[in-house]
């Protein structure tokens, strides 16, 4: 796998941003209908200064040091922030990742809609990296994991809830309100109003006002109320995000209609974001910043140290409906003899607390064993044990694709067929 030559295209991200002239932004924030930042994809050129036609009746003096209208701390602030330096040291970030970039990672798009100063672009890159590293780690370690369980494991490692916990455990605090005067070591976002807050002192709650106009589902049957409840595994794969959750709009939609993205940003800036969303953006942005500034290896190590090292018992994520049926289908698919349950031992059959130990066998091979206070319970547990034994197979030596740069040649890893389709 060839490494990307980042320096050729990420010059605009690597260079530290300065507000070119704050009166431009002043008008921008006064008139938010004006077009926001230019799209400059894959360019190493600095952002051109946009000339904004000044209203003629404006007599205010131009003061380039007037930061009063900035929505987030100016880029000159980070070196003097003790909180930010402490965060940099606490996470043992490399010196190649400057404080200014760490400060930018902490600015949510809801706080500063200017994409040159918020973490949107970094977080887009970082969340993709998080998804890539997590999915390859899970798939290579458990090659037979069912799709649904794999998505749940993805969510457990890098879902919004986990990233919010990671942010908290890093000691990152959230600013009460974003602004230029806020310490850049705080996570800056506009918080969404609580759902049970009352609207203008009336008895109505915020959540009662919210309509379904938040976003449009990409599912083809979204409009049909009778079929909208179907959420199969393949539907989640097709129309869901990497955790199987429904996504409102895809990148294709944004590419076809770019104004949707602006609408989305404005809606978020108006309504605010939840702490989970802001934390997700921050961790993703830091991951992206590590990748761009410190390189792929450092980003991988950072991911391993902070995300993959967390504890997750994958065997606790399974939920079987009919394990005995699944097991017989699995045996049929794999060419084993059909499974038979046999009592191995029992005690107190006539008593108040009987215990049966049941094993499932395919021919002479014992697939699993379970104990329970009734024969059916023991049989189901034995089938669950057998299924988990199959699905949780893990090869001894695992080498993931992202580690296959240089050195030893890449050997393909085993990825099995997954779950049985019943």
């Amino acid at each position: 796998m060839k490494g990307l030559r980042l320096l050729r295209w990420s010059g605009s991200v690597l260079s530290l941003r300065t507000r070119p002239c704050c009166f431009i932004h002043k008008y921008q924030y006064q008139y938010p209908a004006q077009p926001l930042g230019l799209l400059r994809l894959q360019s190493s050129a600095a952002a051109p200064l946009r000339t904004v036609s000044e209203p003629e009746d404006d007599k205010e003096p131009r003061d380039s040091t007037d930061y009063t209208l900035l929505p987030s701390p100016p880029p000159s602030r980070p070196p003097s922030s003790a909180r930010l330096s402490a965060l940099h040291a606490r996470l043992v970030l490399p010196t190649r990742l400057p404080l200014e970039i760490l400060a930018r990672c902490l600015v949510d798009p809801s706080a500063d809609t200017n994409s040159n100063f918020n973490n949107a672009s970094l977080s887009l890159l970082g969340s993709d990296l998080l998804g890539y590293y997590t999915s390859e780690a899970i798939i290579c370690r458990y090659p037979r994991l069912p799709t649904e369980v794999m998505k749940a494991a993805m969510a457990a490692y890098c879902g919004p809830k986990t990233l919010a916990a990671i942010t908290r455990e890093w000691g990152v605090e959230v600013a009460a309100a974003p602004g230029r005067e806020v310490d850049p070591g705080f996570l800056q976002c506009i918080r969404q109003e609580a759902g049970n807050a009352s609207v203008n002192g009336t008895g109505t709650q915020v959540k009662e006002l919210q309509t379904a106009a938040d976003g449009v589902s990409t599912r083809p049957d979204a409009e049909s109320p009778t079929r909208g409840w179907r959420r199969g595994a393949s539907s989640k794969t097709l129309y869901g995000d990497r955790f199987g959750d429904e996504i409102q709009r895809t990148e294709t939609d944004y590419a076809e209609r770019p104004e949707l993205r602006k609408e989305e940003a404005q809606r978020k800036a108006k309504r605010g974001v939840t702490l989970e969303q802001a934390s997700t953006g921050f961790v993703g942005a830091l991951m992206g910043a590590m990748y761009i500034h410190a390189g792929k290896k450092a980003a991988r190590n950072f991911f391993k140290a902070h995300v993959l090292s967390r504890h997750l018992d994958v065997s606790k994520l399974f939920e079987f409906r009919q394990p005995t049926r699944d097991l017989s289908k699995l045996c049929a698919r794999e060419g084993f003899e059909s499974p038979v349950a046999r009592i191995e031992s029992e005690t107190g059959r006539k008593s108040r607390t009987p215990v049966f130990v049941v094993g499932v066998f395919a021919g002479k091979d014992k697939l699993g064993e379970g104990s329970g206070s009734s024969l059916d319970e023991a049989r189901f547990r034995a089938a669950v044990g057998a299924l988990k034994g199959w699905y949780l197979y893990s090869p001894l030596e695992v080498r993931v694709p992202s580690e296959a740069t240089g050195g030893r040649p890449w050997e393909p890893v085993l990825v099995d067929g997954g779950e049985v389709v019943v």
């Binding site: 606490r90 996470l91 069912p146 986990t162 902070h306 090292s309 967390r310 939920e319 031992s345 104990s371």
Partner: protein, 142 residues
Amino acid sequence: MPVTALRATSTAQNGVGAFILQCKRLDFHYCDKWGSSRGMNTFLRSPLIASFAKAHPQIVIHISPRPNAHPIIRGSYINGREKVICVRNLEKEQILQKVELLRDANGEKVKRVKGGRVVGSVNEGVRGVWDPFHTKEYRGIG
């Protein structure tokens, strides 16, 4: 639907991958008038605090006067709690010990762990739980 999944969250194991020092801020309060701050004032002027700050860049250090009161050190922790130690009449070396105590604390309330040497693990035991149904073949030996 053959198998569905339950949603869970992975739990942190501080030190398994990265280690995050739980103490994130130390506030030093001193008084210029009271004699109980003599050791604290010496400590703040000595290279001890500078070397401590240099060795622990992950801790934010604040120094501020607290007139007409005993000197204290306040540690703030990632779990949101605080730990305060009054260092009146202590010498600078003793104060450094207190600072190290605050640095090493995790901010939790001090609790007594019952049962003597308790070793906790999130992983299941390799041998499994003993149960009487699998001991038949060993019955004759013991």
